[in-house]
């Protein structure tokens, strides 16, 4: 019989402090959002009613969510095969790519958007004037470090060479190897990168604002400037929707019982 394990009192205190750090602001926001515009007192759901019946809210959050999905898909399509080939064929390029991946951290978004606007000036209007084009291109760059380091960790956790060679010796093509053998084993890493990309796009303000696209953070900022309690309700709702989207991604990407990032050669 296993002995019962008790949590150390100090661990409990730290857990409580950590929980308070995260939940007190949320609780304060919730209480603030329940106040009445007329009386300034608790408790009414009118702010939530306003948000739910606001067409701009649904339009912008849908736009941001779709932009996030597009960013995730493009990032995965670009980075998974690239990082796979780097690990397999040219591992000496890995530090170079890791360095490049740090650039979006170093260059402030304001500088980046000015550069991108200038760089893409003259590109077709279906790209330059549309959030699906220009904005996603910028978001893929913003998501690059998160995607790269997540995927890189995933590839390092498996024996890419042996798995690839085993697959090929059994008659599999490169594509079959990638989709049936490699991808399922870096699924957790790809999901982690996708979550981060989703979170970034759902909250990105600077680039969308300067490029004059009406995404959810722009709407949130507008409501925040012009309303009292409604922005708090909007924040909580968007928080819930983003978490629901993440859970959705997790559900779509979850496997069937295997330990996906287990080292092929390790136990």
């Amino acid at each position: 019989m296993k002995p019962r394990r008790f949590m150390a009192p100090s661990a409990f205190v730290w857990l409580l402090l950590g929980g308070a750090y995260f939940f007190i602001p949320l609780l304060a926001t919730l209480l603030f959002s329940l106040k009445s515009i007329q009386t300034g007192k608790c408790c009414t759901l009118s702010a939530y009613g306003w948000v739910i019946h606001n067409g701009d809210f649904w339009h912008t959050i849908k736009l941001s969510f779709l932009l996030a999905l597009e960013t995730i898909v493009i990032s995965l399509v670009l980075f998974v095969p690239t990082i796979y080939l780097v690990h397999l064929k040219v591992p000496r390029l890995r530090p170079v790519i890791a360095f490049l991946a740090l650039i979006p951290f170093v260059v402030p978004p304001i500088v980046m958007v000015v550069g991108l606007l200038d760089f893409y000036r003259g590109s077709p209007t279906w790209f330059y004037d549309q959030p699906w084009g220009f904005l996603v291109a910028a978001y893929v760059i913003l998501a690059f470090p998160y995607m790269f380091f997540s995927l890189d960790a995933g590839f390092r956790a498996i024996d890419v060479h042996t798995l690839t060679e085993a697959s090929q010796s059994l008659g599999a093509s490169w594509l079959t190897t990638l989709f049936k053998v490699i991808l399922p084993n870096i699924r957790v890493a790809a999901l982690a990168g996708s979550f981060l990309a989703l979170a970034i796009v759902m909250g990105e303000f600077t680039i969308a604002n300067l490029a004059q696209f009406h995404t959810f953070p722009i709407f949130l900022q507008y409501v925040n400037e012009t309303q009292a309690y409604r922005p708090a309700a909007l924040t909580l709702l968007s928080f819930g929707i983003t978490w629901a989207a993440m859970l959705g991604l997790l559900f779509v990407g979850r496997g069937r019982g295997a330990r996906p990032t287990l080292l092929a050669g390790g136990r």
């Binding site: 798995l163 085993a166 697959s167 010796s169 059994l170 053998v181 084993n185 295997a258 330990r259 092929a264």
Partner: protein, 370 residues
């Protein structure tokens, strides 16, 4: 024409000659072990056969067809790797079925074949387990079944037992041989373990510095090593540098002591030779004077218990020998005893001694080394 032919394979990595003209001929259904120390080129040769690498020169022919430039996915070579290579996202059954699914075919046929193979390797009950739920030995068995599932033209095994503990290794190597004989599959096996190679192979090729030093049956390799390196690598061997003094009687001189070696007959006087004597053929007795003919006198300086025999190191005078004696007898010759070592005139082998230094055998890296 042989079933598998490696013809003049060369492979360089920068300045390093990994393979320097390797020629092998293997008939269908035969089991060949490539044996050698780390860095001798054995894994490089296997990877060339598998198609994971291309030779700088030379060709690989299977069943009369040149496959040197064929991609690995089209070679029909089943491979078992040194590292655990099961796909972690698939169960044992799915792993074994993978190659068959890639090739298409009826689902029922595939399942039947997978079931047969899992039974063959004794894991019919573990088909639903994922690799992390299997022991190392079980994983390598499943990897073997997976390689066999595609009915490969040649089965390639790259030190598949090196990551396993001694008991499992012994058991699994016997199973590999049993399955190979049962299926009659042509097999190329890479190992640095000479006992493993000698025990399961039809032929053994000892490699050194990118070349095959000698290829033959295990018994030939043990009893008639063709080079000093093979003599050193296969089993334990006493190597005595000597000079022929009388080709008629087979007398040679080693450090001032005259020994008779039958193999030295018909040699020219003054020829420099290497006398090779297996430790188990050396007879020991407590020293009594200067000994007799064909003896060296020295002192026991170490005893190593090996089970039924004990290995004694004897040093002193002209003697620098290893002798394996029955453990019961070794008890009568404790460390410090002066002994007379009698060398067999009949059983000793002889090799030409050149000016090249005798080869050193490098240590083998850990199991997962690439």
């Amino acid at each position: 024409m042989a079933y598998l032919e490696l013809q003049g394979l060369h492979r360089h990595f920068g300045d390093v000659k990994a393979l320097d003209g390797v020629d092998v001929q293997l008939e269908q259904g035969e089991f060949l072990s490539l044996l050698g120390p780390s860095g001798c080129g054995k894994t490089t040769a296997l990877r060339l056969v598998a198609g994971f690498d291309r030779p700088d020169a030379g060709s690989i022919v299977v069943d009369g067809k040149d496959v040197t430039n064929t991609s690995p996915s089209k070679r029909d070579m089943g491979m078992v790797f040194q590292a655990y290579s099961l796909f972690p996202n698939m169960t044992a059954t799915q792993n074994v079925e993978f190659g068959l699914r890639v090739r298409g075919g009826h689902r029922a046929d595939r399942h039947k074949r997978v079931g047969e193979l899992l039974e063959l390797i004794g894991l019919g009950h573990a088909g639903d387990r994922y690799p992390h739920q299997l022991s190392g030995g079980m994983q390598q068995r499943v990897a073997l079944a997976r390689a066999l599932a595609i009915e490969p033209r040649v089965l390639l095994l790259d030190e598949p037992l090196s990551a396993l503990d001694a008991k499992v290794r012994l058991q699994l190597r016997e199973e590999i041989r049993r399955i190979q004989l049962e299926l009659g599959i042509t097999t190329l096996y890479v190992t640095h373990d000479q006992e493993e190679a000698l025990s399961i192979s039809d032929h053994v090729a000892v490699m050194y510095s990118g070349r095959i030093e000698q290829m033959g049956s295990p018994a030939e390799m043990y009893s008639a090593p063709a080079t000093p390196f093979v003599a050193e690598f296969i089993g334990t061997m006493n190597r005595l540098e000597a000079t022929v003094v009388d080709g008629g009687s087979g007398a040679v001189e080693h450090r001032g002591v005259t020994l008779t070696v039958n193999a030295a007959r018909d040699r020219q006087r003054g020829d420099r030779v290497l006398v090779l004597v297996r430790p188990e053929t050396v007879e020991l007795s407590p020293a009594n004077g200067d000994g007799g003919p064909n003896t060296l006198v020295g002192e026991v300086i170490t005893q190593t218990f090996l089970g039924p025999v004990t290995r004694l190191k004897i040093v002193g005078g002209a003697a620098d020998l290893i002798a394996d004696v029955p453990t019961a007898k070794a008890a009568t010759l404790p460390v410090g005893t002066r002994v007379t070592a009698t060398l067999p005139a009949q059983g000793a082998r002889l090799l030409e001694l050149t000016d090249e230094p005798l080869p050193e055998i490098p240590e083998e890296p850990g199991p997962a080394g690439r």
